[in-house]
């Protein structure tokens, strides 16, 4: 065992690849496959029992969101095991790079860029039409595989199933989060989100209501940033 390798949730040879505020992501192996182990930790400032409950709930949101997305034809990693003792999800490691890195690398043709953005819009629309809200649609949470440009959505920890009357608002917020993520991570490339939204509008059959709420959410966001 090398220094950086550790045992997490009983799984040996885990190599840390990403340390976040709420969890850690490791690379490892699971039954002959390359795997990712995602461990969520209890936030220390919360009440311990509530804490445990909330962490478990987030774990549930993540795997349930993935299950729902798969049923709607969206690619997600395959969950291999969930360990509730250590709040870990072991899943397939997806080949490819994040859309964020892919955009930053910039080694694509206009046609390829168009294909990726339009696939993002279409697949988010498929999720939304199936009442699934992703909750964290950033370009780091979509993996693109080359050369097929096939997309895999990850990081469903904030996803949920929206109920009818909240649908437009929840989807509008989801789109707004996505818009902000594109603007923040790719400020040098304006117009990316608009291309994705264009494809979204063509695919969804709830465009009107979602778009109205999205526009409202956007206004609220702009007012807030003018005040703050």
């Amino acid at each position: 065992m090398t220094e950086e390798e550790q045992v997490v949730g009983l799984v040996p040879k885990c190599k840390l690849v990403c340390q976040g505020a709420e969890g850690r992501v490791f690379e490892t192996r699971y039954f002959k496959r390359r795997a990712i182990l995602k461990q969520r930790f209890d936030k220390m400032y919360r009440h311990p029992i509530l804490n445990k409950k909330l962490t478990r709930q987030r774990l549930g949101m993540e795997v349930k969101g993935m299950m729902k997305a798969r049923k709607l034809g969206i690619r997600t990693p395959t969950v291999l095991l969930v360990d509730t003792e250590t709040n870990s999800i072991i899943m397939d490691r997806v080949e490819g790079i994040t859309v964020k890195d892919w955009l930053r690398k910039g080694k694509y043709t206009e046609e390829e860029l168009g294909r990726v953005l339009s696939a993002i819009g279409t697949q988010v629309a498929a999720m939304h039409d199936g009442s699934l809200v992703h909750g964290d649609l950033t370009t780091s949470n979509i993996i693109v595989r080359e050369p097929s440009l096939e997309l895999t959505f990850i990081d469903f920890g904030l996803s949920f199933n929206t109920v009818a009357q909240n649908g437009p608002e929840d989807k509008g917020v989801d789109l707004y989060v996505m818009e902000r993520a594109f603007l923040n991570a790719h400020a040098d490339k304006p117009g990316l989100f608009d291309k994705a939204l264009e494809a979204y509008s063509q695919k969804t059959n709830q465009w009107k209501s979602t778009f109205n709420r999205y526009s409202e959410v956007r206004m609220r966001g702009r007012k807030r940033s003018m005040v703050g």
Partner: protein
């Protein structure tokens, strides 16, 4: 003699799951009755192979079983053998799971026999009851061809959309791995 496949677990050093595959089995119901009557070793599972399309589901279910065995909460069912069968199923209803994945039915003709072993543990009784199964030996690699795809899909509720992006085995192992969090009817 059937060849025995030894499954080792990265997360559980010292533990193995030994597995044998039989086809053209003629006495599945009889073997199933022995299990129900508690006459087989507690660490042994007799599994209806047509619902198991690959070794990976066995591995994931075995991993889950050993984790439960080591945890404070303990097993959901009574024995290691029944826990493995329960974990293979998409259902949280114990009896339903054991019935579906067990072999107590006349039309069950392909069977997986599996039993846990722990290194260095004195065995009062071995888990291998191959002698009781009347059938021909197969290799675990033949599981895919013995699986009943329609039945696997209906038990785990696997849609065409999901199969367009994922293999059948991956769809199954997802439901085994995430079982505790999915709805009773395998995520319906």
């Amino acid at each position: 003699m059937a060849s025995t496949e030894t499954i080792t677990f990265e997360s559980h050093p010292g533990w193995t799951l030994q597995a044998r595959f039989f086809r053209d089995v003629t006495n599945a119901e009889e073997v199933g009755n022995l299990i129900v009557a508690g006459k087989l070793p507690v660490k042994t599972s007799v599994i209806n192979a047509k619902l198991v399309p690959d070794v990976l589901p066995l591995y994931a279910a075995g991993d889950k079983t050993l984790r439960a065995h080591k945890s404070q909460k303990g097993l959901t069912t009574r024995t290691l053998g029944s826990e493995l069968v329960f974990n293979l199923s998409g259902s949280k209803h114990i009896r339903e799971a054991l019935t579906k994945f067990g072999v107590k039915s006349k039309d069950c003709t392909s069977v997986i026999l599996a039993w846990f072993e722990k290194e260095g543990e004195m065995e009062e009784e071995g888990g291998d009851v191959s002698g009781l199964v009347k059938g021909s030996a197969g290799a675990m690699a033949d599981l895919a061809s013995a699986a009943d795809i329609a039945e696997v899909r209906s038990h785990y509720n696997i849609t065409d959309e999901e199969l367009s992006t994922s293999s059948l085995t991956d769809c199954v192992v997802f439901r085994i791995g995430a079982k505790d969090f999915l709805d009773k009817k395998s995520g319906k």
